[in-house]
Symmetry: C2
Subunit: 332 residues, 2 copies
């Protein structure tokens, strides 16, 4: 039985609880996996039940503070000190410049010998090395698959492509950018109309600044470079451009040359870049809509390309659950 603390119960946290409930039998049969949630931390308090929270009834509540397990004014840090668990899952709101409060929560959990799994990328594009040192010191695992393209097994390639010798990485790492550029390319939409559609469909945030200025995508290429290429960079080292200067005219001009304009991030030759590029129409990078993609160029066997949905509650939750299952297979 794997015991969990979940920090953050928005779209991702709820999806995770929902999937673990619905797939309980499948997960037991397929991976010998059984779990219980001992605490769920929110901004204004926490649910705590050391015998396991009743998830089925909890998911019926719109406001989880109505649950009898609710303790007001408990912070995630309080919970980490008081509740024993195997794994802490971090999917709360995070300050993009400091990575807090997640960085402190993750460190405290690892120092209490908990493994951690996070869908928040802030802590890792800001303080990867620091967190890795705490993990190594405590001999615990850091599951961070969902920080880059949700459940697309990009970070897992560290081991799954171990024999290929990865030498550089590029990718289409932001679904909002790709959706906007695809709508402009395929349907002749204006930038503003495509952005509005992306918001309506839930791909873009209410404030999409960090998507369209390239910052979100850049954070992901920083993490990929540090994990795969052994670099020690932060987002401040990246050359970041967004998609706000793409016009209908530029897209039409590209199409005349049998090319698409795509927002591409690259880690190569010591440099981290994010910005628009002209991509041949028959390239594997020519994926459309909100799909994301990562491509590893290798020394021995050419490129390997992984494509999938890079955002969304169930998608991020599925990636978190993959990490949890893998930790449970290796450690328990």
């Amino acid at each position: 039985m794997v015991s969990l603390i979940i920090v953050g119960f928005g779209n991702v946290g709820r999806s995770l609880a929902d999937i673990m409930l619905k797939d309980r039998e499948y997960l037991h049969k397929t991976f010998g996996f059984n779990s219980e949630i001992r605490a769920i931390c929110e901004l204004k308090g926490a649910l705590i039940n050391k015998n396991g929270i009743d998830v089925e009834n909890l998911l019926k509540l719109n406001d989880i503070s109505q649950s009898s397990d609710w303790v007001p004014d408990k912070t995630a840090l309080d919970v980490v000190k008081e509740v024993d668990a195997d794994i802490l899952v971090e999917c709360s709101w995070v300050n993009k410049d400091t990575g807090e409060p997640a960085v402190s929560t993750l460190k405290a959990a690892m120092n209490r010998k908990m493994h951690i799994v996070s869908s928040n990328k802030g802590p890792f594009y800001l303080k990867y090395k620091e967190l890795k040192e705490v993990a190594d010191k405590n001999e615990v695992m850091m599951g961070m698959e969902s920080t880059v393209l949700s459940a697309v097994p990009a970070l897992a390639a560290k081991t799954t492509l171990a024999g290929t010798h990865i030498k550089s990485i590029r990718g289409i790492l932001n679904g909002t950018c790709n959706y906007i550029l695809s709508q402009m390319t395929q349907n002749g939409s204006s930038f503003d109309d495509a952005l509005k559609e992306a918001k309506d469909l839930g791909y873009a945030e209410a404030d999409p600044t960090l998507d369209i200025n390239g910052y979100d995508a850049a954070g992901k290429i920083v993490i990929l470079a540090n994990v795969f290429l052994g670099w020690d960079k932060t987002i401040k080292d990246a050359d970041i451009k967004g998609i706000t200067e793409v016009t209908a005219e530029k897209i039409e001009q590209a199409k005349k040359e049998n090319k698409y304009i795509k927002h591409v991030c690259t880690a190569k030759d010591g440099k981290l870049t994010a910005g628009t590029e002209l991509i041949p129409m028959d390239s594997t990078l020519a994926v459309m809509g909100s799909l994301n993609l990562v491509e590893f160029e290798t020394v021995h066997a050419g490129p390997y390309t992984f494509i999938g949905r890079g955002a969304g509650g169930p998608e991020a939750a599925a990636g978190i659950l993959s990490d949890i299952i893998n930790i449970s297979l290796l450690k328990f």
Copy 2:
């Protein structure tokens, strides 16, 4: 130090030895990985050196029986009984109907508590369940990533996509078929000319029958279905069609409908199929040339698509090496 026995020293076996030699420092630094090859088995004898074969000098020989480590008339089975090693790597010639001699070698090695890694798919599309039982009984691992699309981490998705709940699988699983159809589609080549080019480029075997009749691709979907969907099927359960009835006219007709003709294998609703299908031009399945592709449809998060080179000596060797490294990370 991970010790190896390699069975088969053709293109794949040589590539493996070559990569491990060239990447020695990289592998040590990146994965803490060190290896030595204690035996290499060929049809007419074996190289044996319990202190580790001198690979650098061996690779200079065209005929490895010239090495001072050569013992004539030793079979792989003899070697498994006489030489201690952590992992046996199987990349020899295999009978497509019986899986021999590889099946016997693999079983003997596992019964001697060696982990196994194989790029041969015959043993697994014929006798997966039997081999799995021997592995489980002896508590050893079976690395079989290279049996399906070489180093493309298709089988690794069992754990890397664990949280997504895979419900069906489809793929473009034979590079020769994809190359031929791509040449007919993009360059208007005839079937025969495209097949000849595929042979010249080394994608197709001298006898390409098993490629173009769909048998090779079907073997891979059988393995995928057994691993991911918990089925217990052999290649005899698959409905197999090839590409020999594709004509220039059919391809032109498809293009008029904005579609490509592709050779697609599917495992869905209890059925295994291999044959040609019409694929929309903007589908993720529309990969060209000799590239291969596998797509997992999931319950929680849509499809995940992996693309890469599915054949070739270094490509298969890179997949074998990924398996070896992963076993070493988990077991030693």
